[in-house]
């Protein structure tokens, strides 16, 4: 029994490594034949399926999520590509490559559809600055360090003005840190919330059956990300980025969970 367990323990990682190697080989094969889109897409689709198996085996990290999402994107599956980028961003919300990738796929997916209000998602003031969170944090820590040094110097030479300046710098840095902490919690919550991404254009209905009337006109295009509020009988109760709430079929969306 022990030997069987040991054998299984040794075997599983090896097979996962093999799957990863196969997936990467398929990806590179797709890049090599990219002059023929049909052939290339078949390679990328196989690569995505293999990466998905690795993901399902439990080896989950931002790099694997990026590879999986890229393979889906190049295979033409924009909806699942966005879903996989979100999976990676849940693990590492400030990963530059993942952010760049999901923005590109969103642009492609949105560009092929009619522009609609529910494709636009509001952003926070901090996010609108366009400065990476790590740099803002470094700035805050730097200001705090200068403030503390000025305070220490003021105490040593007993200068009140210098002490006020140092105290102001420290308080400013603490304020910036508090705002960044609030933003970090918001971002973590945003990427962690259960999300459904449209993979096949679908209608938003007022109930969990085809017999219910539509909540909005037209179909929701591929790539739109929706917050999952609940599920019932093969349907998801979802909220669109613009606040519209309704029901969509489970078979037409991919979920992050």
């Amino acid at each position: 029994m022990t030997s069987i367990l040991l054998f299984t323990t040794l075997l599983v990682p090896a097979s996962v490594q093999d799957l990863k190697a196969q997936a990467e080989a398929e990806y590179r094969a797709g890049l090599e034949v990219r002059d023929d889109s049909a052939k290339a897409r078949r390679h990328f689709a196989r690569s995505a399926n293999l990466f998905e198996e690795v993901w399902e085996s439990g080896e989950r990290n931002p790099g694997l999520a990026r590879n999986l999402a890229q393979a889906r994107f190049l295979a033409g599956d924009y909806g699942r590509s966005i879903r996989d980028y979100r999976r990676g961003l849940r693990l590492s919300p400030y990963d530059h490559d993942l952010r760049q990738g999901i923005d590109s796929v969103r642009e492609r997916a949105g560009g092929s559809q009619t522009s609609t209000s529910y494709l636009q998602k509001p952003t926070s003031p901090v996010a609108r600055l366009g400065v990476p969170m790590s740099r803002l944090l470094l700035f805050s820590l730097g200001i705090a360090a200068i403030g503390w040094i000025v305070l220490a110097r003021a105490w040593l030479i007993a200068r009140g003005t210098l002490a006020i300046l140092g105290g102001a710098l420290v308080i400013f840095a603490i304020g910036v840190g508090a705002v960044l902490n609030w933003e970090d919690r918001r971002v973590q919550a945003e990427w962690s919330e259960p999300t459904a991404v449209v993979t096949i254009p679908t209608e938003l209905l007022m109930g969990n059956s085809d017999e219910y009337p539509r909540r909005i006109e037209g179909k929701i295009p591929v790539g739109v990300e929706m917050k999952i509020l609940g599920q019932r009988g093969g349907w998801y109760h979802v909220e669109l980025p613009d606040g519209a709430i309704g029901w969509v079929q489970q078979s037409r969306v991919a979920t992050t969970d």
Binding site: E24, Y27, G30, L31, R34, D35, D36, S37, A38, A40, R41, P62, G63, L64, R66, N67, Q70, F73, L74, S92, D97, Q100, G101, S104, S134, L137, L138, L141, A144, A145, G147, W148, I149, L151, A152, W155, L156, G177
Partner: protein, 322 residues
């Protein structure tokens, strides 16, 4: 003679051929349809190409009838009259090849399947008259025989999709490479970055103050310095005057005594002004008196060496060592 013989043989062969070609086929007992074929052991060979076609393609059907004695008289088989062919195919005649072997007729048709479900080209029957067979009066159809072919399986597919033009795949720069493993900054590094500056600032102040003391600590330090110097000078003092001078300088430094000390009374007054306790004042005054006795008495009670020890003991006691 030989020429005449050859000519006769040719004439005989010509007559024989004409006699065969002009075979008289009885009307009675003739099957329907009948294409006028006559011969013995007539063979019907049917071939088709291609046999795997789409619904829009056509099949070239070739019917070859061999061993005929009246090939030129054989009529073309009208496939439209055969129900199975008419039902399953659109039929168009193709040209017969110009050269046919002797005693053989070849007919060609272009067949287009009407439905996807058609799985074969039906079998054909070619009736012919065999002149070698007897013609009994009670069985007029006896000399009429039938050559048969087998059905030919075919496969009919849907219309082939139009060929997709080969287009290159647009691969953006970010997707040209796979993710490389990269190290991320652990969270505790940020916490260190947040708490290190105040710790460093406090440490800096502490070290600075340790190096540069102020207030009581500075006073203590000065005192201790005065004691060190006094003990050092005591050890090198070679007479009672130097010993007394070292101790008095120490006392002035230790108690921060202002002014000049000439006599024991001056010392007692200054120590009293500095709020020094009584026993200490008495001890200091006693030391000065002892030194005076060493220096000025004709018969001193103690020696200079004893005075040095007494002075050192006084300093150490005031420094709290004893």
């Amino acid at each position: 003679m030989r020429t005449i013989g050859s000519a006769s043989l040719a004439l005989w062969l010509f007559c024989a051929a004409n006699a065969i070609a002009a075979v008289d086929i009885p009307v009675l007992g003739r099957p329907t349809p009948f294409y006028g074929g006559a011969g013995s052991d007539v063979k019907l060979i049917v071939s088709a190409a291609p046999t795997d076609v789409t619904i829009d393609d056509s099949i070239l059907l070739t019917i070859r009838v061999e061993n005929l004695v009246n090939a030129k008289d054989v009529e073309r088989i009208n496939l439209e009259e055969i129900e199975a062919f008419h039902r399953d195919f659109q039929i168009a005649d193709e040209l017969t090849p110009e050269s046919e072997p002797n005693g053989t007729r070849i007919f060609r048709y272009r067949l287009r399947p009407r439905q996807l479900s058609i799985a074969e080209i039906p079998r054909l029957v070619f009736p012919y008259y065999d002149p070698k067979l007897p013609q009994p009066a009670d069985k007029p159809d006896f000399p009429f025989r039938r050559a048969r072919s087998e059905s030919i399986p075919i496969r009919v597919r849907k219309e082939a999709p139009p060929p997709i033009p080969v287009e290159p795949l647009d691969v953006p720069a970010f997707a040209m490479s796979l993710a490389e493993p990269k190290a991320s900054v652990p969270g505790w590094i940020w916490w260190i970055g947040a708490f290190a500056p105040p710790v460093v600032a406090i440490g800096w102040c502490a070290i600075w103050r340790a190096i540069n003391p102020v207030g009581d600590r500075l006073v203590r330090r000065r005192r201790s310095r005065a004691a060190r110097l006094a003990i050092k000078s005591l050890r090198h003092a070679d007479d009672a005057t130097a010993i007394v001078q070292s101790v008095v300088i120490y006392l002035a430094e230790h108690f921060e005594l202002p002014g000049i000390i000439r006599v024991p009374r001056d010392l007692a007054r200054l120590l009293g002004d500095a709020r020094v306790d009584g026993p200490t004042i008495d001890e200091c005054v006693a030391f000065i008196n002892a030194s005076d006795s060493v220096r000025f008495a004709p018969f001193p009670v103690i020696e200079a060496e004893q005075l040095r020890v007494q002075g050192e003991n006084l300093i150490r006691r005031l420094e709290g060592e004893r």
